[in-house]
Subunit: 300 residues, 2 copies
């Protein structure tokens, strides 16, 4: 997905937010914004937004000297999500259709962002997503929630690569991966994390803290991009990506960077921003399970 | 009021919006954003946001060659507001306290922005602002709604300068000015407009279209700033500003540029943006009648 002009004001917003989270004073925040302004004209809009985000967060790191500004936030998210793990399991196992509920919970976990203030917000979001009303809407607009294709691909795949997103959210991913393993104990599951700090995305440590190693082999993408920019990923990761029978991609960053990729991918995400909602053709806030096939891409 | 770092993302948003309203294609929109990025590092944050806005809208004009991108929008706003003029008069004259209602209506007119979609929005906003509940809140938080000081200043002043804001909104200003003249027929009223296009701010033509000349002498600020940047105003305007017994300033742009001025000013505005609400100490959406005195400024 290419960068939209509307992303440009948002880049400055993200830079300012990251600068503040890194503890920069006013003068340093200004320096960071000026540096973003300096590199902006050279940025090609054909690239996806996370490519610019990666440049921005590098500037923040270089100017502030803080290697991982979101470290505390990520640890808080992990602790918070682990604290509701038992509750998530209960919700999943009470559902008539456990796989469906597990998928919905995994997508709901996408709201564990550093913006989320309290457990109440998350519980409310989960309730909203799982409500009968919203399930009916998803059933009616099933092109945005291709659960049957997902089930079918699961049943046929041997190796499944799951591209993680934020720290904390990984606990919700685990709830889904556990259900997949319960139904298909013979599957080989691989969970990918970022190699170096990328906003609040899960690193190896976060994935392990969230217990994902109990259900999957954890690998690094080899990159610090907040998404999956294949040319920047390690060769070993690229090989896994190419050879996996099924790829499940989580969150906006992975969607933005892989929406045009030449292999089938299941994108699970909450459409949080208007540019992405517009690209998909859905509304902001929608729960998306999008089956990207190669044929489809050629139609674009 | 100095520029906040949070204004910087917003500058790019405004530039993009103005570029689109001027009919620029994607490549031209990008050129405009790049040009804003180029001049940004030289912008001093000690200056007020409208100083940067002025630079941005000049870039839009220079790059697109469109002298007054908001011309159609302004004319639509004028027509729309004139269409509800009789209704506004009825509302004002039914109120127990006509001056109070007139002031509230004038402030409500501040939502006639190019963002407003339909008359329903405006009617809803008027109802909200005039509701008993909101009046009680204003009464309790009277430091943000200094109506008694306003009445007292009106009774004592001979020459009153009223600094206009958006096109269309001028009809709402007229409703207030008519009430002032009804209560004090001997006052000399002066209504100031921008000299050249400044976003959707009223120019001389707009003020005349809205009939403000029936209640006030209309003068130009001599500037194209979307606010009142005194050093850029004509000498004759500066003289009027200095010598007026009372200055009534409308909208955010005038507030941002005059909040530290060394003379008393009554600021009438809707606090539409978080930076301004934060500066004032109120909430976004609040109806503000702020009496700025010189002593107060020295305390800051």
């Amino acid at each position: 997905m290419r960068t939209c002009l509307d992303c440009i004001p948002c880049f400055f917003k993200q830079a300012l937010e990251a600068a503040r989270i890194a503890g920069a004073d006013d003068a340093t925040q200004r320096r960071i914004l000026n540096e973003v302004a300096r590199v902006l004209p050279d940025f090609r809009l054909e690239a996806s937004p996370p490519e610019m985000a990666r440049i921005i967060y590098r500037i923040v790191r270089d100017v502030t000297g803080v290697e991982d500004p979101y470290r505390n936030i990520k640890e808080r998210s992990n602790r918070y999500a682990l604290g509701i793990y038992d509750e998530l399991i209960r919700i999943r196992d009470q559902g008539k259709d456990r796989m469906r509920t597990a998928v919905e919970l995994a997508i709901a976990g996408n709201i564990i962002d550093y913006g989320v203030k309290n457990t109440l917000d998350v519980r409310r979001e989960i309730e909203k997503i799982l409500s009968e009303e919203n399930r009916i809407i998803r059933h009616e607009e099933s092109r945005f929630f291709q659960l049957e294709n997902f089930r079918e691909a699961l049943s046929r795949a041997q190796t499944i690569l799951y591209l993680g997103d934020n720290a904390g959210e990984t606990v919700f991913d685990r709830v889904l991966l556990e259900e997949i393993l319960r139904q298909y104990p013979e599957k080989e599951m691989i969970f990918a994390v970022k190699d170096q700090p990328a906003i609040n995305d899960a690193l190896m440590k976060d994935a392990l803290d969230c217990g994902i190693q109990t259900v999957a082999r954890v690998v690094s993408s080899g990159s610090d991009a907040p998404g999956t920019l294949l040319p920047l990923c390690s060769e070993s990761f690229q090989k896994i990506f190419r050879n996996a029978d099924m790829v499940i991609s989580k969150g906006q960053g992975n969607f933005e960077t892989l929406s045009g990729v030449e292999r089938p991918v299941f994108f699970l995400l909450l459409a949080k921003c208007p540019v992405i909602a517009n690209h998909i053709g859905c509304r902001v806030g929608d729960v998306i399970l999008w089956y990207h096939t190669i044929e489809e891409e050629h139609e674009e």
